[in-house]
Amino acid sequence: MVYDIEIWAKVAAFSGAGLAMGLGATGVAVGEGYTAGKANEGIARNPEMAGDIFKSMLVGQAVAESAAIFALVVAMILLFSSFTADSFITVIVLFSSGMCIGFGAIGSGIGSGFPAGEACLGMARQPEASTSLVTNMLIGSAVCQTPSIFALMTSFALLFSNFSQSPVSPTWAAVLGAGLASGIGAIGSGVGGGLVAGASCEGVARTPSTVSLLTKAMLLGQAVTQTTAIYGLLVGFILLFKTFPASDSIVPAMALLAAGLCMGIGAIGPGIGEGSTAGSAVKWIARNEDSSGVILRMMLVGQAVAESTGIYALVISLVLIFVV
């Protein structure tokens, strides 16, 4: 049996599609299960609200599902589009784009389950605040999707860029690294953003009058939490669009792969950490509205310090790309 490049491209497309949908389904399922659990808790507390809670559970789960739908779209494209495989790079590109959206959908899926769950529980505790809870939940979980949108962008950029002019040797590692950086980098920020949004929904249920303050604090917290996912996207884009000189040595290729891994894995921790900082801040703003100014300032400082490890990862991966 002779395996030519076309066959390998098919193999890569199939395994990429499998990874995309398999990994992409994991996080979303966890998030949706959390939502449904909290909805049950809410119904047990306040059975009269069962209808409303059921509706908002479905809406929340539908938004959480969008991360899995992104993965589904990429998997479909990988399965049913025909790609012209002109070099070994195409093989890696197909695999990498599937892996990227697969990893990228995990965080946002888990994360957007939290606000939906807390909103369901909150509706049971505070039926009058239902409308503002649903609005707050929708805003929160829409922002939670941002990291998975970043991963999706890298996926599509991988699929639709033209690499036929690039040298095979370091470029294969660069495209694999781009998928890793952007995909794995999105996990932490997705979960972290969910923690913030969940805390904010809980806060709205506790003190409905603070809703506009809480939404603002939540957006700020989530925005800062996403910073490391953006570093992942940045490293991914640099790896994708920078042209690397051809080389037969394995060293530059490994440096590029390591750069992607470094930024991807390095972004997980700061994402979750900053999310829990902002989550606690938002939670306590709801309980102590008057000190919101000092709490927000403290939150920003704390997040900046937590983010410094993400900046170390960014610095090292930029050094790996541009210096080594």
């Binding site: 929708l138 599509f156 900046i311």
Partner: protein, 224 residues
């Protein structure tokens, strides 16, 4: 599908360098400027104690965003930067909404627009930092907690510009790619209007607000 990533560029040689203009974002930004100017003119044409519809919308923008600026920057600086806050939000929101009209596209889809606005915010923040705290105290902030943290603090400041502009660019570009690909896969049946409403109107408004708020917060971090 092939129009993905295609861009019309105008390249003018100038003093030995090639100056590249991306035509579409420029024209689209002008459309947004024109729309805001027309809105502003119509909103204040018949000012009255009992406001008309447009005047209510205008007052809503001004009131909400000035409150945001004053809350985070304090009375004095906040009043000074309220017009900027208002203009930034209205520009970004309309920019992000522009993509729902066929044949028009969001100027924020091109990285240059958010990057320019991000650099603007960066310059204002650091100018205000030096002006309010004095140069010495401004510089000493970089040497905290220990002096050798200076390079990392510096990178952290520059990373703020990157993160604020990539966040907006990524959301808008990602949304428009999803709309394009899904429309292509479903032959533009049923789904695209909902996607446009979600990514254009909903996410666009949220991201415009996030960008505006972060710009204000970056200024307030430098000032305090």
């Amino acid at each position: 599908m092939n129009e993905l990533g295609k861009l019309h560029q105008l390249i003018i040689p100038f003093l030995g360098h090639d100056m590249t203009f991306n035509i579409e974002p420029i024209i689209m930004s002008w459309i947004v400027f024109a729309a805001i100017l027309v809105f502003g003119y119509l909103a204040v044409k018949k000012r009255d104690i009992i406001p008309g519809k447009l005047q209510v919308i205008g007052e809503l923008f001004v009131d909400q965003l000035s409150t945001l600026a004053v809350d985070s920057l304090g009375e004095e600086i906040g009043k000074k930067y309220a017009p900027l806050t208002c203009a930034l939000f209205m520009f970004l929101m309309l920019s992000n909404w522009l993509g729902i009209i066929p044949h028009l596209e969001e100027p924020t889809k091109d990285l240059n627009t958010p990057l320019a606005l991000g650099i603007m915010g960066f310059c204002i923040a650091h100018y205000m930092g030096i002006k309010v705290k004095g140069f010495k105290q401004y510089m000493s902030a970089y040497f905290e907690p220990i002096f050798f943290m200076m390079p990392l603090n510096l990178i952290g400041e520059i990373a703020k510009v990157i993160s604020i502009s990539f966040r907006l660019f990524g959301n808008i570009m990602g949304g428009s790619i999803i709309i394009l690909v899904v429309s292509y896969l479903t032959y533009s049946i049923i789904l695209p209007p909902f996607l446009n409403a979600f990514f254009g109107l909903f996410v666009g408004t949220i991201q415009a607000f996030v960008f505006t708020m972060l710009t204000i917060v970056y200024i307030s971090v430098q000032v305090q």
